[in-house]
Symmetry: C3
Subunit: 371 residues, 3 copies
């Protein structure tokens, strides 16, 4: 797209305080590293200080209080730089336009459905009886909202999202394509006869799912309904793609569940906990508030909040890394044990004078172990 904007126009767009040349013209967005004078870029974190010092960007969105003495770019100082940059992406056509308020003629809307002001319902959506959409909620095409399910105001559901009957999504949520909210919890009782297991008896799940406000749910993630009560995802929690949250789980406020995390049934994840990609969490345990779990860790027992954890048998991070370091050279440790055994055998055979010969073969010296 052939677009250009002055720094001043962009400042107006995102409510920024401008410092530098207001007439600078930019034609697109770019990262700090790749930007040229024709780009507007973004600096949020001190950890990118080096990139900031070297950037060639013409215009920069930065936190309001930033001191950036050596930077040549025109600065747009913002209270909420991420939100500001979303406006700038939009100005350059880089974010999808939010569809206007309308109900597409192909949408099928059940009886007793309540639609808030300004809702947008895309093509081929299906809303069951008694569903409720809050004001300005957006259903992209091909969303299924079950009977009596509820979507809060300003929430946005991408194509092929399924809300099963009766589940509830809070306000200002974003649910990506293919997410499934409210499928049956996985519960089966064994029916055992004389010859052993005969079949699995389905445990009916009459509970529901409640997703709080400002929650984001990634593509193809699944949150199952509770057996009697509520599987809950707290306000401000963010779930990445392909995450599994089982029945009765309680996910606290502001929890991050990164891609492919799996939480087994009835477990509680405390507020602000961060579970990295592919973490697995056992059933009926508790992750303390603010705990941070490294990628791929498997959490077997409840862990306290406010600390870092990792490992196939998750433990405090420092302990895990010490153990892991030894695991990573375990064959060397085993060789050292073998060498000790030989030395002691030699000692037993020749109780005196044999040791120096053993020491001379060097096999037991940790200085010589493989790196």
């Amino acid at each position: 797209m052939n677009m250009q904007r002055t720094a001043q126009e962009l400042a107006a767009l995102c409510g920024a305080e401008l410092s530098g040349d207001p007439e600078r013209v930019v034609r697109g967005t770019s990262s700090l590293e790749s930007a040229g004078p024709e780009h507007v870029s973004f600096f949020g974190h001190t950890r990118y200080g080096k990139e900031l010092a070297q950037t060639r960007a013409g215009v920069l969105v930065v936190p309001r209080a930033l001191q950036a003495p050596g930077v040549d770019a025109t600065l747009l100082r913002c209270e909420r730089p991420n939100e500001a940059f979303a406006r700038i992406f939009e100005a350059f056509g880089r974010l999808p336009a939010r569809p206007g308020p309308a109900v597409h003629p192909t949408a099928i809307v059940g009886r007793d459905v309540e639609l808030g002001e300004g809702v947008s319902i895309g093509a081929y959506c299906v809303l069951g009886d008694g569903a409720r959409l809050g004001a300005h909620a957006v259903l992209h095409p091909h969303v299924v909202v079950g009977a009596r399910a509820r979507v809060g105001e300003h929430s946005e559901l991408r194509p092929f999202v399924t809300l099963y009957d009766g589940v509830s999504i809070g306000a200002r949520c974003l649910v990506h394509s293919g997410a499934v909210i409210g499928a049956d919890g996985f519960g089966f009782d064994p029916i055992v006869g004389r010859a052993g297991l005969e079949r699995w008896d389905k445990v009916p799940h009459g509970g529901t799912v409640e997703i709080g406000d400002e929650v984001e749910i990634g593509a193809n993630s699944c949150v199952d309904r509770a057996r009697f009560e509520v599987t809950r995802v707290g306000d401000g929690a963010k779930l990445d793609n392909l995450v599994h949250v089982a029945h009765n789980v309680q996910v606290g406020r502001n929890v991050l569940l990164i891609a492919q995390v799996g939480i087994a049934g009835s477990t509680r994840i405390g507020d602000g906990a961060v579970l990295a990609g592919q973490v697995g969490v056992n059933t009926h345990i508790e992750i303390g508030a603010g705990a941070r779990v490294a990628p791929g860790a498997k959490v077997w027992n409840s862990i306290e909040g406010g600390r870092d954890y990792g490992g196939y048998w998750a433990m405090p991070r420092g302990e895990w890394l010490r153990n892991q370091a030894h695991m990573n050279k375990l064959s060397a440790l085993a060789e050292r044990v073998r060498a000790l055994e030989k030395q002691l055998e030699a000692l037993a055979a020749h109780p005196r004078g044999a040791q120096s010969g053993n020491a001379a073969d060097g096999g037991s010296s940790p200085q010589q172990e493989p790196a």
Copy 2:
């Protein structure tokens, strides 16, 4: 919903034998722990004996033979308590009503499709030529049934399920949203030229998938078609969400595959095996009937049936846990080896009399290792 039911009404609903006050009135369902006198609750397992003793529930669904001397509630004794409680959930509007028999006018039905008596086909379903639905099968809105695919009687497919051409689902199955049955197996032959790998040559997959009777498949799970013959999921098997079953795999009867399990190609899972969440199973191996594999385990080699397994290199459970316990304090073991080496070095340097000094520093004593 403003509902109330007497114990007697509920007993009639689920064919229970009532013991206690038939006039007790309840207004909803709840778990044993949370129930009050206005609730009907459920007791199935002796492992919830404590909750049973303490429950305040007014009415309880229980197994027919239960003795519950101290319990005040009116008891509804049932042959199949889970099925009974499903009826009770329905009575309180907690389970989705099964849609009535009808073909929605927006459904697109190909040529030579056979529809059994009483089928229900929801909005925007698409059925390919020659598809067959058994009597009373239910397709919720937005289900795609490929050409010549088959759905058995009383089976139910939730929104956004895809059945690829020619696959077959048995009777009384439940397939949750987003499941994909019959996508191509993942097979590619390397085409290697002078400069190494040039491209991957797709191996065509002309086989199919057959899902048995009474199978449940979780949301967004995938079962791939076989290369020549059949990827099979046996009668009574239950798959949780986000499970992957590769081409040619044979899943036995009554197998449980819990969330995010992955089974590599051509592997056989024996009847009644239970694979917990995030388990991975290697290609071309066999899991014996009734084997139970702990969460997150990786199964590299065939394992015998009837036993429990676990670990990153799956082995019998007891062995795994013993090894795991040592892994969890491996740095302590390494320190003990270092202490032994020092002692032996001292012995070698001073063959007599030095040992007591080493022993006194205590470093090698297992009693002092970190917990």
Copy 3:
């Protein structure tokens, strides 16, 4: 289906050079092991030499140069045996027919959409404004193509695929059901107040996804859009089911990502690398070209190309397997260390003469450790 074909007809169908009886009649396809004289089967790899020697198949598709002295079947020698066999599967109705060129009347096509020659757009597809489909592209029913998204010529998208706005799919790709291309990258900045974490601030993602030519993407896999620039999947790469590719990742040419692999943000996967099922790869690292990573491995640090790796802390395969072998009998190693400690304690207590007693109890002898 009641079908039969002569060897000669099949040879014509797939451009093969026939050797043997051209009048042999077959009625279906089968694997080498299961085939009878009435089947056409396939031999591609020397690793199936034994099955080849024993097969009873009537007709065999084989590589052009194959010598197969003892084989009785009529041979169809082909330059590209896999492609040839795809034609044969089609002849027996075992592969889905490609839908003919047409735009289904229920498809909703936005403004300024460009449709190449011979495209096929299935029922209930939705194409946003400015979308482009190359010649002979196939959208099966229920595909959503976002505004300005692009699908290359001859590419095929299965039901319930979502292309978010602006993403691009190359030519001759195959995308299976439920795959989601271009959902927001998972990026959130912590907003910390006096009482700790207050909320996560969404980092807007204005970049896109570019999928190369001849890429296959499995069912329910997800490739997220970049923050500023492009998440890229190179030409000829193949992704299996339930794979997660995070924002800014660069997947090289001819990479294989097997089922349930997860790649964290900004990581680079070199050309021709093969990541087996359930592998996890850390953020901001690099997998060298042609690296091969064993199932379930977790890759924490960059690894060099051209080698094999494995393990929970991925390392070169040989090293991993040596370490793993010791991990698998770690409790035995710990017992040996305990035995050494006892011997040394005895030595310390009785500096002379005690050793032989210790040696006699055998506890420290590695010959006696559990297998």
